[in-house]
């Protein structure tokens, strides 16, 4: 369908047409609007192709010219991916942005810490005490497995922390979010509640473990050299494989199992899922369980890569949301790719701008994606 155009005689012998944004001679007007219609008929393919091309270009360029930073970026990205997949999963099912995700991620890593070392801040600030029982007491629990800096104690601690965070997430849903759902509160109310939970979680961590950074394993662990001048710790390779393994597991769950199918159905249309006989309450519980377990593992891996600090949690919000929105909110596989993009861009950026701006890089990605393609890579149009 051709749009109505405004025609005017401005020059003897030729008619000019104002069409959309441009003024063109009339004899081209028809072919121009035809071109435009054809472009529109492509739907969002140009946008999607452009975005993918940009991402691939970034990855190839970074891998070739900044190999070391690229590899570190992939590792940071895999930590972010675990968090972002949980975030996007919860978003898909419950339709609200969980601003507490970063802080509960840190809580997960602290739970792993207390299980491993049994350390809390004692009576006075800055003086630690032991709660008397910890995984470290098992024989050989802290001797490194192979080249890794930690032993099986940490692996057990992470697994138990995943379980604990799953239970805590379900409990939080029961106490807070379910009541808000029953009251049919808007997404904004959910967001404010989650922000409240975020800050109380951070305060709780400060109460129990104090503001100083902590580590799972003390001592220095040397990095190894790999081809292409890449220097990596074995721990970092471990992080990547754990994240990748969990992403694959989540993919299998979502696309090849009945529970995943129900979750996707509910993400698409909760009412339709309900009348099709899907127990939506059960799906919500499972969603929180999976999201909670993922966030605990993500937090623990973050602490393996760097250190634990209560303040880190809220700063994670921006990269996590950037990754989730870039991938298309509600799409875990999108969040995985988005997290890699955010991780690599953040790391590579320190070549060009001060490292203090790292959190701002995630924000820039977020703003660009919101401006150019708010639905992200895999998001649906509505």
């Amino acid at each position: 369908m051709r749009r109505r155009c405004w025609r005017a005689k401005t020059w003897p012998g030729s008619t000019w047409v104002i069409s959309g944004m441009s003024i063109i001679p009339a004899r081209y007007a028809d072919s121009f609007s035809e071109l435009r219609d054809r472009y529109r008929a492509l739907g969002d393919r140009p946008g999607a192709i452009g975005l993918w091309a940009l991402i691939i270009a970034l990855f190839v360029w970074a891998a070739v010219f900044q190999t070391q930073l690229f590899v570190v970026g992939i590792i940071v990205g895999s930590i972010l991916a675990l968090g972002a997949m949980g975030l996007t999963l919860v978003y898909g099912i419950l339709k609200f942005g969980n601003f507490a995700h970063g802080d509960t991620m840190m809580l997960g890593s602290y739970i792993a810490y207390i299980l491993l070392t049994g350390t809390v801040v004692g009576r006075q600030a800055n003086i630690d005490t032991d709660i008397g029982i910890s995984l470290e007491q098992f024989p050989g629990a802290t001797t490194g497995i192979g080249d890794l800096s930690f032993g099986y104690g940490l692996l057990i601690a992470i697994a138990l922390a995943g379980l604990a965070m799953a239970l805590i997430s379900i409990a939080l849903d029961r106490v807070v979010y379910r009541r808000l759902r029953q009251r049919k509160s808007g997404i904004v109310i959910f967001a404010i509640a989650s922000l409240g939970i975020a800050f109380s979680t951070r305060a709780l961590m400060l109460i129990i473990w104090g503001p100083d950074p902590r580590r799972y394993v003390s001592g220095i662990h040397y990095a190894k050299h790999y081809p292409f001048d890449v220097v990596l710790k074995t721990d970092q390779i471990f992080i990547f494989f754990v994240a990748f393994g969990l992403a694959v597991a989540l993919y299998v769950l979502l696309f090849h199992m009945k529970l995943g199918k129900a979750m996707r159905a509910m993400a698409d249309n909760a009412d339709l899922a309900l009348v099709s006989g899907i127990n939506t309450d059960r799906i919500i519980v499972w969603t929180w369980a999976i999201g909670g377990a993922l966030m605990a593992v993500a937090g623990a891996l973050l602490a393996v890569q760097a250190s634990l600090k209560p303040d880190l949690g809220f700063g994670l919000i921006l990269p996590l949301f950037a990754a989730a929105i870039l991938g298309g909110l509600g799409k875990p596989h999108g969040a995985f790719i988005g997290a890699m993009v955010v991780g690599v861009t953040q790391e590579v950026s320190i070549e060009f701008i001060s490292a203090g701006y790292k959190p701002a890089v995630a924000f820039m990605i977020l703003v660009l994606i919101l401006l150019l393609r708010p639905r992200g890579l895999f998001g649906s149009t509505n």
């Binding site: 609200f96 006075q124 922000l195 979680t201 305060a203 921006l318 701006y357």
Partner: protein, 384 residues
Amino acid sequence: MRAGKLITPLTLVVVTAFVILIPMERSGWVISLDRGVIPFLAAFLTTVAIFAILALALNVQWGYTGVFNFGVAAFFMVGAYTAAIFVKGPPEEGSSLRYVGGFGEALSPPILDSEQWLPFVIAALAAGAVSGLLALALSLPTLRLREDYLAITTIGVAELLRRIVIQEDGLVNGSRSLVGIPKPLSGYFSSDTERFVDLAVMAVLVMIVFLIVERGIRSPWGRVLRALKEDEVAAAASGKNVFSFKMQGFVIGAVIMGMGGAFFAFNRGAVGPTTFDHFFATFMIWAMLMVGGSGNNWGAIAGAYVVWGFWTTTLQINGYDLPDVLQSRIFYIRDFVVGSLIVIVLLLRPQGLFPEERRVSIWLDHRMRRGPRPADDATAEAET
């Protein structure tokens, strides 16, 4: 039902009792104008007034327009720093204090003691203008998107601006705080009476902001904003330009927030990036509004009073000989309580202390008071 009605007066009474009695006990029950509880209360209420202005601004954005601003810190900070560089003199050579601007002396022509007030008025207006422009720039790309996209964008802007302040330390002295911001009217009063003058000035300013917001919301313009908050589609179907009205609400709120930031800077005399973190500068304001009751201007003020009252009371309690376990953690416990408070309010009393008024219309208020006009009766009779 009756218990529900008691909550509001009870909360106010308890907070007032704590705010008066604990400082009184701490200062040994001295009642005098230059020490003890009275100067404390003056300073306390001045701060409450500043936060009340910020809460009123957030009420315009969220309570009335339904614009979801999670980056109050950004506008607060921009306002405070803008005001600071407007009233300070130019940076001195060789001083460790580095900042841009410093228009204070240029803005005070030597008439009518203008250096005592003129730069401050201009600085507050400039703070509002810069903050409003920031809101305008933000609203263009994000206001059309879903609400939570605006939320995460505003969080990001607040974080980005704070990063810039810390990183670019030639801009506003980086993480070392911009100190030595002059006080308005400081030449006229001694430091003892100054507190009370500050309080009086801030009380008048809160009153002005309150009246402007209240008048605005009771106008047809305000009713459009409320309609938007309730149902955007319905408002659009009634021929209202949703985007434009939302932008107006957002920008006007941001202007007031920027001015609140300016008053904060004048009051404190120093501003630093640690003040404007997400917890203190964003979440506290949200807690004030949600506790007081969003959509009600009295609620915004009462919320500022209650939350700030709790905040300072914990400071006072810290002076007592508490067990070590509590003493070393009192600030974290305070953060925890404020964080949980908002969740508890949302769950148990979502309307806050002062529920939103259902009818906000001067026109309708007049109509109800006078009763139906005779003309209406005539038409009603004619119809029947």
